[in-house]
Structures are given as C-alpha cells and as structure tokens.
Amino acid sequence: MSETSKILCSRCGIYLTMGTVTLTYLEASFPAELYKCAKCGLVYIPEDLALGKMAQVEKTLEDK
C-alpha cells in the first residue's frame, strides 16, 4: 500500500496515511499498519481486509 490513500477524512479534509493502529480482541492486543487520519485518528479498513485477514485472526484468537 502506498503511504497516502484515496480516502479523504471528510471532517479534517486530509487524505488518510499509513499509520500504526492498535487492534484488540478477547485478551490479545497487537499493532497493525492501516490508513488513518493523521489529525483525528479515523481509521479505514477495506472490505477485503475485514473479511479476509482480520476474520482469520479473529477465528485464530477465538479458538486459542
């Protein structure tokens, strides 16, 4: 993924850029590189990521 996205934060008026976001589930917590608004912190998770990798991680953590 490029550093700057095509996703515009409507409130801040700036494009989301790659940044570290903490994701948590059950008792696990881990960092992920995702597009986020450098100003307000709004995050963008595309459909394929949510239904692909993230769903796999959820299942792994649930079955742990």
């Binding site: 409507s10 903490t22 994701l23 608004c37 239904l51 079955d63």
Partner: protein, 691 residues
Amino acid sequence: MLTGDGSLSERSGALPVKERNKKAAVIGAGLSGLTVAWELVKKGYPVTIFELSEQPGGKILKESEERMPRHIIEKDFAPLINNSMLETCWGSGVGVSGGMVNFADLLARYDAIYLGTGSNYALPAGVDLTFDEQGFPSHDPKTLATAIDKVFIGGSLILESEKRSPIESVSHGKIAALSIDRFLQGVSLTAGRSREGAYETLLYTSLKGISPEPVYIEDRPGELPNSEQTLQEANRCLLCTCLECVKACPYLEHYGSYPKKYVREIHNNLIIIKGGRGANEKINSCSLCGLCAEVCPGNLDMGEFCFKARKKMVETGKMPPSAHDFALQDMAFSTSELVALHRHQPGFSKSRALFFPGCQLSASSPHYVGRLYTYLREKIDGGVGLSLSCCGAPAQWAGREDLFNENIDLLKKNWTALGNPAIITGCPTCFSVFRKVLPDLDCETIWTVLDRVGLPENSGAGVKMKKLAVHDACTTRYDKPLQNSIRNILLALGHQVQELENSRETTTCCGYGGLMSYVNREVARKVVEKRIAENPEDYLAYCAICRDHFAARGKRTYHLLDLIFGSSDHDLAGDQGPGFSKRQENRYRCKKSLLKKVWGEEIQTREPGFELAISAAVRSSMEERMILTGDIIEVISHARSSGNVMENTETGTMVAYYKHRNVTYWVEFTVENESIYHIQKAYSHRLVIKG
C-alpha cells in the same frame, strides 16, 4: 500374521527392537508355538524352539501339497526361522530320558516356557501338571498359565478335537505370548484382557439395501476354488461397520469420521490448557436434534455431548463469541420491551389460557398470529391472554444457561401475574422447551387445540387439496399426539398425507436447530438439501423456521397455517420467507398491530430521520454477512451526529464505521438530498480498533 505373500518379512524388517535380557523356550513348532515365538521375538525376547521333528509347521504339514504348497509355507516361516533372535533345535524332544532335552534343565535355563506339543504328543515327561475334568493339563483359560511357575500352555494340546483349527492355535499363541511378556515384565497377567480372543461384538451392521449373494466357494475336500471364485467370495464381505448415525446425519458425515473419534476430539478440546481448540466449530455445528441417538443401536447422543461441551465452554470462558452472538442478540430483541407483550384478553381480569405464538412464528407470519389469536378467543371461554416473547431456545442451544434461566424466570413471573393460565404455543420448539423445564405447566401446541376444537370456518379456502409430504419438527420427534393432530388437521382440510421415509421419531432437522445455521452454513445447507431431496411432493411443516429454511432452498413448502388461513392470491409454498431484518421488523409489527387491533392502543414508531435505499444484491450480501438494517441505521446515525465520515475519492462513495455491541460495522454509501442513503456495501469485523 503369516500371510504367504512375503509381506511379513518386509514389514518386520522395518521394526528394529531392543534385545531383552530375559529369554523364553518354546516346546513344539506347530502353529501355536511358532506364533508364541514370533510374537516374543517381535518384542525383543530371545527365543529357543525345541521341536521333535526336523521342521516347523506341525499339523499343517499333513495337508496336501496342492492345498498347502510347501514353498509358500517356507516363505511364510522364513522371517521367523531366519530371525537372529531365534534359536531352533530340530529333532529335540523334551523329556527325561536319554537323548531328550531335560525339562528341569529348561526350567532352570529359561525365564519362561511355552508348551505347544500338539494333540499327537503327550505332555513331555517331567512336566508335573495335574489334569482337569476333561483330561487336559490344568491351565487358566484366560491367560494359558499353568500351575507351574513360568510355564504356559496352548494349542491342540488343550483343545477338544472339534475345536482344533489353525486359527485356534494362532489365537492361543497370541494369548500365551502376551501372558509371557506380562509375566517377564512382572505385571498383571489378567488386567484389561476382557476383549481377547472371541467375544460377542457390539458392532451393528445394517443389511438394509444389501441383497443376499450366493456362497461362491463350496467346501469340497480336495477341490480348490479358482481365482475368480475366490475374488467373488472375498467381495461378499461387507467390511462391517455401523455408522448408522453418520449415514443419517450430514453433520456427522461432514467431518469425515464417526462419533467415537469426535467424542475424543471434543473431550481433548475441553481439557486442553494451551494451544488451538480445533473442535470448537464441530461442537457448535451440531443441531442437537437427537436423530443420532434415535438411530444408534447403542443410543449414543452426539447432541447431548455437544450440548454439554457448549455449557462447559461457556463456563470456562472458552466459547468463541462469534458463534452464537447474532442469535443471542436476536433473542434479546424478541424479549425486549419493543416486541414482548404479556396481556389478558381485553375485558378479562383472568386468563384461562395464554397464547404464546413464539418469536419465529411472529417473525415469519405475523398475520397468522393475529388470526389465530382471534380464533382462540372465539373458541375458548374464560379469557385467552397473549404472550409475545421467546422461549429461550437460542440461549439454551448456545450453552448460555444463565440467559436461558433468566428468560424462563421472567416468563414465569409474567405468567404468574396473569394467574398461571394454560399455555398454547404456536411453535413446537417453544412447546418442547416449556415441557422440559416447566413440567408442571399446563402446555400444549395450537395443533392439538385445533384438532380438538375444530378448524376455523372457511379454513383451507386458499389452497387446493393436494398430496403433501409431512416434515415433523425435530424438537418434538417423540410427541405422537402432536404428530397425530397434524395429520388429522391435514385430512380434515382434505389433503392427502405423504409420510416421508424419515418422519416422526426419525425426522430430521431443517438446518436451524442448535443454531447450526449461524455457526456452519455449509453443514446447515447439507442438512436442508438432504431433507428436501427425500420426496418430490410439496412439503408441509408446522414450524415456521422449518418452512422458511426449505423454501429458501427452493423446496415448495407450506406451513400448516398457510393451509388454514392462506390466501389463494399468493404463492404460499414458494414464498422465500423474510430475511433477518424483516423477521425483527415483523415481530415489532406483530405487537404494534395486535395492540392496535385488540386493545386499541397505538405505539409510536421512532423514525431515524433519514431513509435507506438498499438494493436486492446488497440485502442478500447483508443476509449472508448477518448484518441487519438496524446495524446500518446505527452506523449512518452515528456518522450524521459525529461527522466521522470518509470519502473514497476513487469510487466517489462515502465510508463510515461504528462499533455497535461487539461488532464494528462498515457502510459504504452515497447520499441523495442529504436524507436518502443508498447503501453500496456493508461489512463487519469483531477486532476492536483502539486507535
């Protein structure tokens, strides 16, 4: 073991064993003695064979060359005879006289001795054994131990002539070898040996669909079968297995094995401390319908086992939250103030009966709930109250005893306040739940009531008389009066009853039971498809979910209420049924319309202040992803109030997300006139964004 195809030597060569420091003597190289020697050599014991004749084989050497070709016998024995752990003493009789090996010497030199001298030889001289009533040397039939310490006995020497056979001799050899091994290790000779030798098997093999075939090989002395006959005879073998439950249940079949293995996997899944719990999905995919127990010759109930496993998982905090969350939220909706209602009939301060349609009938056919309630009030004196809620089956199936008990307590409290009327359920599952947990409750289904009081006037005007295949509800598989009433009503309506091959106590699940369809759609699909393929006639169901599940897979299915109240201007059997969102909306509308119609009360609907436009394709994707219209409303409402919206400048769509309960929902949309939201896409995840 001794196969004649040379495979023995290939197999044995691959198994190096450590030589032990105790050794055994085998007296007699017949089949039992050779078997003892082979079994002990395999375990690493040095063995010496003492044989009076000059070669191994004993009685089988008396068979003709044609029947027992010598080169095959030699090939079979070679791995043993040539084994470095074996010493052979041919022409060595055992006794006390000159030229014989002295038995007392053997006792001193060896740690264990096996006596297998066969029927033609007397007990070697010097062997001081008493004889039993039948004239055989005394021995323990289970272990083949004799009264002399370290001496074991077997083969034709202790077999009555009619019981003697090569198989018996080999069996004795194996039993004696195991005893000798245990004796040399100093452990119990008898523990855990109940299933040794011949015993009555528990294995059941159904012969259904198997046509008898003739015996291809007649036992004619001196006549050998040709290879074609031999193959035909071998092919008559059924390779006996039971698998009655696996044949009956697509869930059990899906995982490619059978319950004995599943039970072990599930047990391990429950006790594992660290590591993956690979059987979670298996535990949660069972419909808990009880068919396996019904068809199992041993009554093993995988459903009961999975049910207990679920409760244990909940108890230990190891139940995956995603498994049942959607169904439990749906139950929470059905029991919420928004849709629940518990009332006396207007004008009554007491209720003789209370109609409890159940959340799924209200969700599938809210219009029938009103019609039924009207009819029941006409037919039953003394007041018929109404109770709209959920019986708690989803919580029970999810192993959530806490939620289930909480719900039952609340229902009891409401019913007590209404004077403990008799309950009339519209749903077989509600009935089965109440009957089990509230055995003192006076409860029956609308079907036995309608069978007794008669059908409403003009019943069945909307549906032409036809032959219908009855699908019984799995939650009431043992309820004969209910099942009989269904058939009586069908006949009273003028229809013909077609019994499915699996009906009444052997009926199947529709793919919903145990919350199967939420956890494992693939298995649920297999369950539905197997059921709907059973008969080409239109089906008749009396559970709203069964009807909707079959219809959604393209099987024309009527609900019994369709046949009573249905209108001819609608394709009742072909109706696909409402989706998840519509089901909730229907429950709400059911309460709203009944309150207005029966009690003259209005409830105000809270509007979100904007409209949603959702295409059929997006709705279908939402259904697949278990996303409700209400979830979309939450996201849009939050986006409108917070201003947290993004724009995908590549596609021109807006994007917003919101964590609602335990799930984060994402919606991509376009906006028309600031008030109509055209939904392009909706998806969700359970990982939580912490920022």
